[in-house]
């Protein structure tokens, strides 16, 4: 049974070893051509950084497509608000309705799982390539890596720290343990900080406040503060090279998110308000605001449909009568809903 899974695993991983080691070696050779020493940690560290950049660059089409499918978010905003009035009390139903609306209009603010699914195996393959080189040297060569190159990788030293070693096995396969330990910890801290900033910025600026409610959001908020510690503990198992990859990819994600928050913020968030403010200063907002008043009548129409003819007649009579409104049924029914959903937001935060 275990053997069976092992062979399935290697069936999946072997091509990935080739892909990752191939890209790694290409960059490594390039840096050698540019005059870096093949055995130095710098050529390998830079090769890892550029491996990250290569992979994230390959994923840009996905990112662009995602940004494009966010375009209509603003036009849909009135409809979303309407849904909130209707289903604001029921998050599950609200999410369902929102998803339906997005599907109908071909709009979706989320990136999809594909980028994650593509990056995880790469991450794991890099981990295996480095770890095998670290522990087994020439015999641990994976993919396109020759035995000689695996040994170079095993011995590669960046400011005294060995790239293929982890915090835990530092010094066990030769070299000095302390620099490796220091540098891995430094990178873990950088990683945590970038992750934390990215996540917090997303939550503080680019999430509508309804999305910050509910048990899942609560869990996410807690994790925002717990994760750095989890990383610090988990980081001891990862080779320095993997931490370099991770840190680089975090910086990339952060950059992408800055871009999104600045140029394509989610409507109804602080980032969106900030963008409107900027656009207003440039005098560009006039065009962008047009969809809203157009769509507004639908909101009113739908609400009135809910009233029966009799209720509407009563309502009209009341309006004619003027201010004296001693809490009659129709108005009583209509009013609380929007108010309740409005109150919910700030209260729960």
């Amino acid at each position: 049974m275990l053997d069976f899974f092992g062979s399935i695993g290697s069936l999946i991983m072997t091509p990935l070893y080739y892909a990752v080691s191939g890209i790694l070696i290409l960059w490594h050779e390039l840096f050698i051509l540019l005059g870096l020493d093949a055995a130095s940690g710098w050529s390998w560290a830079l090769a890892i950084v550029f491996l990250t950049i290569t992979i994230r660059t390959l994923l840009i089409p996905l990112f662009v497509k995602q940004i494009k499918s966010q375009r209509n978010m603003q036009i849909l905003q009135p409809q979303i608000r309407e849904l909130q009035k209707k289903y604001g009390h029921d998050r599950e139903r609200m999410t369902q309705e929102q998803m339906k609306l997005w599907k109908e209009t071909g709009t979706n603010p989320f990136a999809s799982c594909l980028p994650l699914i593509l990056q995880m195996p790469v991450f794991f393959a890099l981990y295996r390539v480095l770890q095998q080189a670290s522990v087994n040297g020439a015999e641990g060569a994976r993919g396109f890596l020759s035995g000689e190159q695996a040994e170079l990788l095993q011995e590669a030293v960046l400011g005294g720290a060995r790239i293929a070693d982890t915090f835990l096995n530092a010094g066990q396969t030769g070299g000095d343990a302390l620099p490796t330990r220091i540098l891995t910890m430094v990178l873990v801290v950088v990683m945590c900080v970038t992750q934390f900033i990215t996540q917090r910025q997303l939550m503080a600026k680019n999430m509508p406040k309804e999305a910050l409610e509910g048990p899942f959001a609560q869990q996410q908020k807690i994790l925002l503060y717990v994760l750095p510690f989890a990383f610090a503990v988990g980081g001891v198992f990862f080779p320095l090279g993997v931490l370099i990859y991770w840190t680089t990819t975090n910086f990339w994600t952060m950059g992408q998110q800055f871009y999104v928050i600045r140029n394509n913020p989610v409507p109804g968030t602080p980032a969106f308000a900030a963008k409107q403010e900027r656009d207003r200063k440039k005098g560009k907002l006039v065009e962008e605001k047009t969809p809203e008043p157009e769509a507004r009548p639908t909101v009113q129409r739908n609400q009135q449909k809910k009233l029966t003819r009799e209720q509407r007649r009563k309502l009209a009579a009341q309006e004619r009568a003027g201010q004296d409104r001693p809490a009659k049924k129709p108005t009583g029914e209509r009013r609380p809903n929007p108010n309740a959903s409005k109150k919910k937001g700030p209260k729960k935060r």
Partner: protein
């Protein structure tokens, strides 16, 4: 096997998934879908459903509502297209 998969999915959903926030274009999200699919359909068919869902979750897909198909009814095709209101509530709370 089923319980191993469920445990793995739970760990992912608890520890790894929140790191990325919501990325999934569907509801329920891919990992929630996988968890439910394995619970309802067992490890083999559940994994197959989950893999197919992951294949569907890319930026060119519209996303939207995509619940796990119910158990006894054979529902190859309608798991992709069916978002009609009729079978929304009971499946998701299941």
């Amino acid at each position: 096997m089923k319980h191993v998969l469920i445990a793995l999915l739970r760990v992912y959903r608890f520890a790894i998934s929140p790191m990325y926030g919501q990325v999934c274009r569907y509801h329920p999200s891919c990992s929630a879908y996988a968890l439910e699919a394995v619970q309802v359909h067992g490890s083999v068919r559940g994994s197959w459903l989950a893999v197919r869902r992951l294949g569907r979750c890319h930026p060119w897909a519209a996303g939207g509502l995509d619940p796990v198909p119910p158990r006894r009814r054979r529902s190859r095709s309608d798991s992709v297209t069916d978002t009609s209101e009729t079978d929304l509530p009971q499946e998701i709370h299941a």
